[in-house]
Symmetry: C2
Subunit: 421 residues, 2 copies
């Protein structure tokens, strides 16, 4: 808690010696228990400032609220001021404090509160807030170069191409800014996004947002592999926090990667894709067809060619009908060996957004990946997948966005400050 | 676990001695910790069978997946068979088992699995499944009395009237059947609804569904009062599990309440209303206006007339401008004293369903209440609220439904069996 005031401490008006330990009542105590249990030795909160932004290699929390924003001003100073205010609020909220210094309940009666209050009794819940910049901040298709940033745009930061089988909803694609809020408690993630939107009123407006649950990947070796809504383990091949060399090779933007994008060195690119699954069609497929589509056994998660979950698939192993690993199975189509060894750090979530018009669940996987360069680490894979992956029969891509995620925020700086230097 | 096979036990093919304790790996262990912590002494699972259906007085879990179904057959036997299958699957899933006896991974390669698999590694997570019958099961507006049940319809089970300020979406209102799935883990709640939908393919189709988080009420005295997305404590006046006399008076249908509805004795009525909040408008209101609208202090939750959260409001206490408790405050307008003492057992959840067209969050409260009779315990309150409540300025009712919830399911019976006797 960094010795600061907790939301609860502010509520009582007193100093929060010990921070979250002050949270009183059975409910908060239960949440604290959850907090202590859910991360397998992870701390109760993560600082906003550091060498990297939190929420990338951070042990994947279980809940997501992702929001993309349109910047509705053309005033560079207003944009910078927003990033200052967001930095300040983010630093406070990830520590379990209110978004503003006064809080939801201690302000003047004739002013709106500087926090919305729904997280008052809740612990930090391992909230991370990861902020990214979309292509439209540099060169907007309609509004042009509003902020004098076009010569700072990295070449890799361009709208993703249209892929075969994309059925994108423009209203929930793209965006000038993004906030990825991850936490153990959805109410804490929602509270954070909502307060950043509130703070940004008049400067930004929410373009689209997405809730998710049940992390579909592991970002550290201490986490086991969860299952996506196909019922299969997902993210087995993920780059993990402990693989520092692989992170440098596949996730973090290098200092020499792009002259214009020098401000992005040490950061990453965030690819977001909303993947709707035809759940009801999938559920009526034979177990064999499901496993052939993925290329893994549903139970163990091991490749069909044999071995445990982490075994390398043997694409040469022959069965009576050809390769044991079908050439159009998901594992075969997107295997790193086919793309010069390119790997990703995936950090997606399952979602259910109510129902479809035809009596099914509007459900799927909100794919998030962090990569060093989308041109080498995402676009080729997605193209291959869209063309050749047997799994595509059960997928529809309905949203797509790309953001540059600046490196971590040092003391006294605001997020992305180097871009405006 | 009732000595049965856990999902995990089935996966390994062995007997699950100890049930959830078999769940292996850091992820499942973390979920187990969460499970143990989240309920304040509640058991790790609740049986499906009992005197009452679980999910009403059960200590409110933190996550919801609510689904309303259309029955798409006119064959009474098919409907009865569905209720049998649902009973069997529900009994298994609340114990942390697969929806079907074979499970997601142990079936024949040439058959679809009888469980979808995404909850394979997860504990029971205190899942409850509460099943209700809508008016259309008895007398459908278009399909008539398909099942020969019209003379068994309780008078109280009729579509709710149109209330002032209702802007209902017909596509997410009503329904012939409902399933309220509550759990500590959204993936477990989603898995249950999805598998009931899968089992019902051809007999029912999902009409609408709603996810929720952050329970907005307390159903036992051991829970403290949570906050809704207005940032205020919600459900302070709720009927709780320990108030057995109040439950008999306000929640459980009496044996003599309705001759046609004798099968419903010991059950209840479930009112569901999706209440969209104009979050961004609310967030720009002064703290004083917010507290005057609710009639409570935002911090403590106590009434503006003084006292702690559980203090009775003093509507006669005068300030310089009239009553301290504004006559149009939410607390004043819906106070039980104005409705013959009628109280409800509320069990709603917060929701965020992405974004609105105008750059805001599509967020609010999914209201669920269990009442003995909606004609005395809901309709008068909702009418008054819609007409006179200052809070209405910040609310839009977008969905509405009413279901009769049969009593608990005894050994050897299926849910609602008395209706078909």
């Amino acid at each position: 808690m960094s010795g600061g005031l907790s939301r609860r401490g502010l509520l009582g008006g007193g100093l929060a010696a010990g921070g979250v330990a002050l949270a009183a009542g059975g409910y908060a105590a239960a949440r604290l228990g959850e907090d202590a249990a859910a991360g397998g030795g992870e701390p109760a909160s993560y600082p906003f400032r550091g060498q990297r932004q939190a929420g990338i290699v951070t042990a994947a929390q279980d809940r997501l609220h992702f929001a993309a924003f349109d910047v509705v001003t053309d005033d560079r100073d207003e944009l910078v001021e927003l990033l200052r205010l967001w930095t300040d609020a983010a630093e406070r909220m990830v520590q379990g404090q209110s978004a503003g210094p006064v809080g939801a309940v201690n302000g003047a009666q004739n002013l709106p509160p500087d926090d919305t209050g729904e997280a008052l009794d809740l612990p930090p819940s391992r909230l991370t807030l990861t902020i990214g910049f979309g292509p439209g901040l540099f060169e907007h298709p309609e509004l042009g170069d509003r902020f004098g940033l076009s010569d700072r745009r990295p070449e890799a930061l361009a709208d993703l191409p249209h892929f075969p089988a994309d059925v994108l909803d423009p209203a929930r694609s793209g965006g000038d800014l993004c906030v990825q809020a991850c936490a153990d408690d959805p109410q804490v993630a929602v509270h954070a996004v909502r307060n950043l939107a509130r703070i940004g009123f008049g400067t930004v407006s929410v373009r689209w947002s997405q809730l998710g649950f049940g992390r579909t990947s592991t970002t550290t070796t201490s986490q086991s592999t969860p299952r996506n809504l196909f019922g299969f383990k997902d993210g087995t091949m993920n780059v993990r926090a402990e693989e520092t060399a692989a992170l440098d090779e596949h996730v973090w933007v290098g200092a020499d990667d792009d002259a214009a994008g020098g401000w992005l060195a040490g950061g990453s690119y965030l690819v977001a894709r909303r993947i709707a699954m035809t759940i009801e069609v999938w559920d009526r497929q034979q177990l064999g067809e499901q496993e052939q589509s993925i290329g893994r056994f549903k139970g163990s998660g091991g490749p069909l060619s044999g071995g445990a979950e982490d075994a390398q698939p043997d694409f040469d192993l022959q069965g009576s009908d050809g390769p044991i690993m079908p050439v159009d199975s998901h594992v075969a189509v997107v295997h790193p060996d086919r793309f010069g060894g390119a790997r990703m750090l995936r950090r997606g979530y399952n979602f259910v957004d109510g129902s479809t018009d035809v009596g099914g669940l509007d459900a799927g996987l909100f794919f998030i990946a962090f990569v060093r360069d989308p041109r080498t680490h995402f676009i080729p894979l997605q193209t291959e997948m869209a063309r050749n992956d047997r799994l595509m029969e059960y997928l529809r891509f309905t949203s797509s966005a790309l953001f540059a995620v600046p490196p971590g925020v040092r003391e006294g700086e605001f997020v992305g400050q180097a871009l405006f230097a």
